[in-house]
């Protein structure tokens, strides 16, 4: 069970008509470093033409550029990051993260970690984990370039988070996933339904472990760049029924989460999650969860 026809047929059953995506390059301003620097004007003088992304506070589409936006002085000085537009959404959904203890459980290469630190104005603390040591160099470079001072990085498996002995106010779970065809042109030939199922299982394991380290009434933002409901709505339905988590309403673009997946009826609250089918952005799924009070 693989191949383009198989997956496209699934998407049609879920209500989306396949279309070739037209993703656009996006950047995100690091306010802590760019404040008062007239960044837009400086980039314009280098031939970088930007357009505000209407659904993001600090995001811009790169319309055209005479230079590589990954090699300007402003980039190297940490004033902005290159970050896909949909990927800029999850970190913005936490309620008041300033001064909090935040876990970024699957952090490398660090785009969302840096964004979180910026949203926290470098207050509080972020514990950033990644199980793959080779990816930590990119994460560390990103933190150094953007002069992030509130983050500690461990080569650590999110499935063992309780070993840190910490309780977090906020947890970002941008979990390992199957990805989607927008960011990987060979995706349809690489992926099978077995991969999807394996990733969905891993995601549940990470959820189960990290919830143990979430303070009462703490928040989790769960996100994937997968279009497959096993990794998204089905996992959220499972989490509400098994982990004493509640799905919270969010206010941003995208479609409601699916509540009927291939004939399986899910908890109605799953529709509060958001699904972005590929268009200007890559495909993405986001859900905000809180830990119910008086639970184990």
């Amino acid at each position: 069970m693989s191949g383009k026809e198989f997956f496209v047929n699934r998407y049609e059953q879920l209500g989306w008509e396949f279309q070739e995506p037209s993703p656009r390059q996006a950047i995100r301003i690091n306010i802590s470093n760019a404040k008062g620097k007239n960044l837009e004007q400086r980039l314009a003088s280098r031939g970088v033409e930007l357009e505000t992304i209407t659904f993001l506070k600090h995001g811009y589409w790169v319309l055209r550029s005479k230079v590589s936006v990954g090699a300007t002085q402003e980039y190297l000085l940490g004033m902005y990051s290159i970050q896909e537009a949909a990927a800029q959404i999850p970190a913005t959904l936490f309620t008041d993260p300033k001064g909090k203890l935040v876990l970024d459980a699957c952090a490398a290469p660090g785009g969302k970690t840096v964004q979180l630190a910026d949203l926290m104005a470098n207050t509080g603390a972020i514990v950033a984990l990644d199980v793959e040591k080779r990816r930590l160099a990119a994460l560390s470079n990103h933190l150094e370039r953007c002069r992030i001072g509130n983050t500690i990085v461990y080569n650590f498996d999110a499935k063992q988070t309780s070993g840190l002995g910490l309780k977090f106010d906020r947890i970002l779970l941008d979990v390992p996933c199957s990805g989607n065809f927008v960011s990987d042109e060979k995706w349809f030939t690489r992926r099978t339904i077995k991969d999807v199922e394996r990733n969905a299982k891993l995601q549940r394991e990470i959820l189960t472990e990290t919830v143990k380290c979430l303070r009462e009434r703490g928040e989790i933002i769960y996100s994937t760049c997968s279009l497959e409901p096993e990794e998204n709505e089905l996992n959220m339905d499972w989490a509400t029924k098994n982990l004493n988590l509640r799905i919270e309403k969010m206010d941003f673009i995208g479609q409601e989460g699916l509540t009927n997946v291939f004939g399986q009826q899910l908890d109605d609250s799953v529709k509060l999650s958001r699904r972005l089918w590929p268009n200007e952005t890559q495909g993405f799924f986001i859900c905000k969860l809180t830990k119910r009070r008086n639970t184990v």
Binding site: L76, A125, L136, L139, R147, I152
Partner: protein, 153 residues
């Protein structure tokens, strides 16, 4: 604990005040941890707080975070024009005619920070010639922020 950092600052004629309680050395790498991180830091971290630099083969290599901190002191510095700023982050040296301002030492062999026209620190170099010699390389590039790109390759 913080001697390599303060010694390096001294080579730029700068003084830096760091609370040694908040500086952690791990495998030759120096990190400045704020109190919130200090209280939760466990052994075996990979990276923490502000990276100040590393000692390798008895030599200290400053981070760009530290260079920025030093740029906010009275450290030696030269400001270069836009063309030289671009060439510098590509790893090139500085010609005398590209210097628009200088603060601190002009002495051969001394370190100096390199700043762009916005006053932002792009790295540092070593003075190797007469600063007033317009057509010669006068500052040799030691380290520049273009290193972030070179590391990824």
């Amino acid at each position: 604990m913080i001697k390599p950092v303060t010694d390096f600052a001294g080579r730029l004629n700068a003084k830096i005040i760091l609370n040694s309680q908040f500086v952690v050395e791990k495998e030759g790498r120096y990190y400045l941890l704020k109190s919130e991180l200090r209280s939760i830091a466990r052994n075996g971290f990979f990276y923490a707080g502000l990276f100040l630099g590393k000692v390798k083969k008895h030599k200290f290599f400053p981070s760009f975070v530290l260079l920025k901190m030093l740029a906010e002191t009275e450290a030696n510095r030269i400001i270069v024009d836009d063309k030289a700023a671009w060439l510098f982050i590509c790893g090139r040296d500085i010609f005398g005619k590209r210097i628009t301002a200088l603060h601190g030492s002009r002495r051969k062999g001394d370190y100096t920070l390199i700043l762009n026209s916005f006053g932002e620190c792009l790295g540092f170099g070593r003075i190797i010639g007469d600063i007033d010699a317009k057509t010669e390389v006068v500052v040799k590039n030691v380290s520049d922020v273009g290193d972030f790109l070179r590391r990824e390759k």
